[in-house]
Amino acid sequence: MTGRLRHSLALRIGAMFVLVVVLAAAGLATYLYRAFVAEIERRDDLQLLGKLRQVQILLGRPGAAGLLHTRPDFFRDTMSGQENSLVRFVAANGTVLADINAAGERYPVPPSAGPAPQRASIASWTSRAGDPGRAVAGSARLDNGRLTVVVARVYGERSAMFARYRVRIAAAAAVSALGAALLAALLLLRGLRPLRVVAEHAALVRPGTLAQRLEVEDAPSELRPLIDAFNAMLARLQEGYARLSGFSADLAHEFRTPVANLLGQSQVMLAQPRTAADYEGLIASNIEELERLARMIDSMLFLARAGQDEVVLARQPREALEELRKMADFFESMAEERALRMTCAGDGTVLADPALLRRALANLLSNAVRHAAAGSTIELRARQYAGGTELSVCNDGVPVAPAHLTHLFERFYRADSARSDAQGSTGLGLSIVRAIMDLHGGTAAVHADGAHIRFTLAFPER
C-alpha cells in the first residue's frame, strides 16, 4: 500500500484530500457542537437567574412571608411550573425556611452573590440520576429581614438532547467526508485524464512518427509546460534523427564511389590477361581508393566519438603563433607548388589538445591551399580576445555563395560539386573542425567577403 501510495499521484492526492476533509469536518462539527452547547447553557443560566429574580420580586410583595410559610411551592409554580426546579429559602441565621425539593436532590449551596448575581456565580452540580445541575444563591428582602434564596435546576433532558445532537453532527461530518472523498476520487480521475492522454501519445512515438506533436490547446495550464517540453524534445529528436539518417544515407553514398571504382577496375583488369605493370597499376590505384575509404572511416569514427563526448581532451597551453608557424611549415611545399605565400602573425596562448588543435588547423589549411587562387597569400593569424584566443585562416579564392557558407561545416557538404572528388578530400574535414571546436567549448566560424574567405577558430580560456 505504501508503495502504491508513493507511486500513484491520484491515490496520494486523494488520500491527502480526504484527510483534509475529515479534519475540516471534524473541526467544524466540534466547533458547532461546542457553540450549540455553550448557547444552550447560556440560555439555561439566564433562565435560572431570571427565576431567582422572579422569586426575589415575589418575596418583595406584601404578605410574601406568610405565603412562604403556608404555600412554599407557590414560589416554584409561579416561576415556571417545572418539576425539576428547586428552590430553598435560608434565613440569615442559617435556618432553612422552606425547601422545595421533590426528588430530594442534594446540591451544594453556593455562597450568596448578593441581590443581583451574574452567570459567574452559578455553581455546577450533579443530580442523583447523574444529570448536570446548576445552582445559584442570591439575597432577598422579606418583611424587614434578609434571607438567601437558592435556585437550582437539573437539566436531564438537556444531556439527552446534547447526546442526540452529538450523534447527528458526527454522522453529518462522516457523511460529508465520505462524500467529499468519493467526489475527490471522481474529480481526480477526471482531472488526471490529460496526463493519461499525454502518456498514450508518448507511447505512440516511433522513429517514423517523430513529426507528430501533442495537442497543447486542450491541455490544462499546469500540463502545458510538460507538453511543451515534451514537444520540444520530440523536435530535437526529430532533428537529430533526421540528421543521423541523412548522414547514414550520405555515408552510404560517399562509400559508393570508391567501392564502385575498386570493383569496376578490378573486374575489368581481371577480364583479360594483362602485363605485370598493369596489375601493379591497378593495385596501386586500389590502394589509393582504399586509403580514401580508410580515412573516411577514421573521420567518421572520430565524429561519432566526438558526438558522444567520448574523446578525452589533454588540454595544454600552446603558443598560438608557434602552432601556426608549424602548420605553415607543414604545408609549405604544397603551397609552393601553387605559388601560394603563407604569412603568420599575432600572438596569444591557446588552451587546447595539441593533436586536435593541429588536426583542426591542418584541415583548414588543406582547404585553403586547395582553394586559394594561385599566387595569392594565405594569412594565418592569432588574436587574443576577452575570454580566449582566436586563430584564423584567410585566403582569396573562388567566391562562395552566402547560401553555401552556413552549410560548410556540415558533413559531406561541398559548396562546389565539381570539387567533390578533389584528391584526398573526404568531405568531412570541416565537420571535424567543428567537432573539435565543440569539444573545446569553442566555436568555428566562416566569413566571406567576395573572394576573401576567413575561417576562425575561437578557443575559450577555460
Binding site: 601493379e280 597499376g281 593495385i283 596501386a284 586500389n286 590502394i287 589509393e288 582504399l290 586509403e291 580508410a294 580515412r295 572511416i297 577514421d298 569514427l301 567520448e310 578525452v312 608549424k326 611549415d329 607543414f330 604545408f331 609549405e332 611545399s333 604544397m334 609552393e336 607548388e337 593533436a355 593541429r358 588536426r359 591542418a362 588543406s366 584528391q423 584526398g424
Partner: protein
C-alpha cells in the same frame, strides 16, 4: 628467430605472413589464440603480432598468459585492433603490449613498427651517411652529391635524414608526417607528396642516379639501387 603472427581472419593472416616474409622476417602463423600460445611456449619466438579479436581465447587472454610465463614474458608484442577505443589501447599497454596498430593500417607502418620493436630496423645513427654518391653530414646538416653541395631547408634536411636513416625501408606518408612534422593524425597526404617532390628537385633531378623512389600505394624509400617499380 621467427615472428609469430596470431590472426584468425584468413585474408589478414595470409597477407601478413606473405608481406612480412618478403620483408625479410621468418614467420609462424597461428589462426587462433590457443595455437598461438602453444607456438609461443615452444620457444624461439622473437616478436608476436597479436590480433585482439580472436576466437576461443581472445588477444587479451593470450597477452596475459604470455606475460605470466617467464619464458615468454619478455617477448615484444604488437597488437592489432579494429576498435580504436582509448580504453582498448590503454588496456593493451597495461597488459604489457609494446605497441599497437589500428586496422586498417599501412603495411609499411607495420613493418616499421616491427623493426623499431626489434631494434633491428637499420636506423643509422651515424654522423655521416653515404647512399650512392650522396653524403649527409648529420651534425653540420650538409648534403653533397659527388662534388656538388646541395643547400636544403631545415624541413628538407629533416625529411632526407629520415629517409636516409632508414635506407631501403619504405616509409609511409603518415610515418613521415609524424617524424618530420610531428603531425600524428591522418592528414592531407598531398602535403607529404609535395614535400618529397621538392626534395627530389634538389637531390635527384639534377643527377643521373635517383636516390628517392616512390612505392606507389606504400610510400617512399631511399636507396641507391634503382627501385623495382618506379
Amino acid at each position: 628467430m621467427p615472428i609469430l603472427v596470431i590472426e584468425d581472419e584468413p585474408k589478414t593472416g595470409d597477407y601478413l605472413q606473405r608481406g612480412l616474409a618478403e620483408s625479410g622476417f621468418a614467420i609462424r602463423l597461428a589462426r587462433n589464440g590457443r595455437d598461438g600460445l602453444a607456438l609461443a611456449f615452444e620457444g624461439e619466438i622473437e616478436l608476436i603480432v597479436l590480433d585482439v579479436m580472436l576466437p576461443r581465447m581472445d588477444g587479451w587472454q593470450v597477452l596475459e598468459a604470455l606475460r605470466a610465463n617467464p619464458a615468454t614474458a619478455q617477448i615484444p608484442v604488437l597488437f592489432l585492433t579494429a576498435r580504436d577505443e582509448v580504453q582498448d589501447r590503454v588496456r593493451g599497454l597495461e597488459l604489457g603490449a609494446d605497441d599497437y596498430l589500428v586496422k586498417p593500417f599501412a603495411f609499411a607502418e607495420l613493418v616499421a613498427r616491427i623493426r623499431t620493436l626489434l631494434r633491428r630496423g637499420p636506423v643509422r645513427e651515424d654522423a655521416l651517411i653515404r647512399i650512392g654518391d650522396m653524403e649527409i653530414d648529420v651534425f653540420r646538416r650538409r648534403v653533397r652529391r659527388g662534388a656538388v653541395t646541395i643547400a636544403l631547408t631545415a624541413q628538407e634536411f629533416g625529411l632526407l635524414h629520415l629517409l636516409a636513416q632508414r635506407e631501403g625501408q619504405v616509409l609511409s606518408r603518415s610515418l613521415i608526417a609524424s617524424h618530420v612534422w610531428d603531425m600524428n593524425f591522418d592528414s592531407d597526404t598531398n602535403v607529404i607528396d609535395a614535400a618529397v617532390r621538392r626534395l627530389r628537385r634538389k637531390i635527384d633531378d639534377p643527377f643521373e642516379q635517383k636516390l628517392i623512389h616512390t612505392r606507389r600505394g606504400m610510400g617512399y624509400v631511399c636507396q641507391a639501387q634503382p627501385a623495382a617499380t618506379a
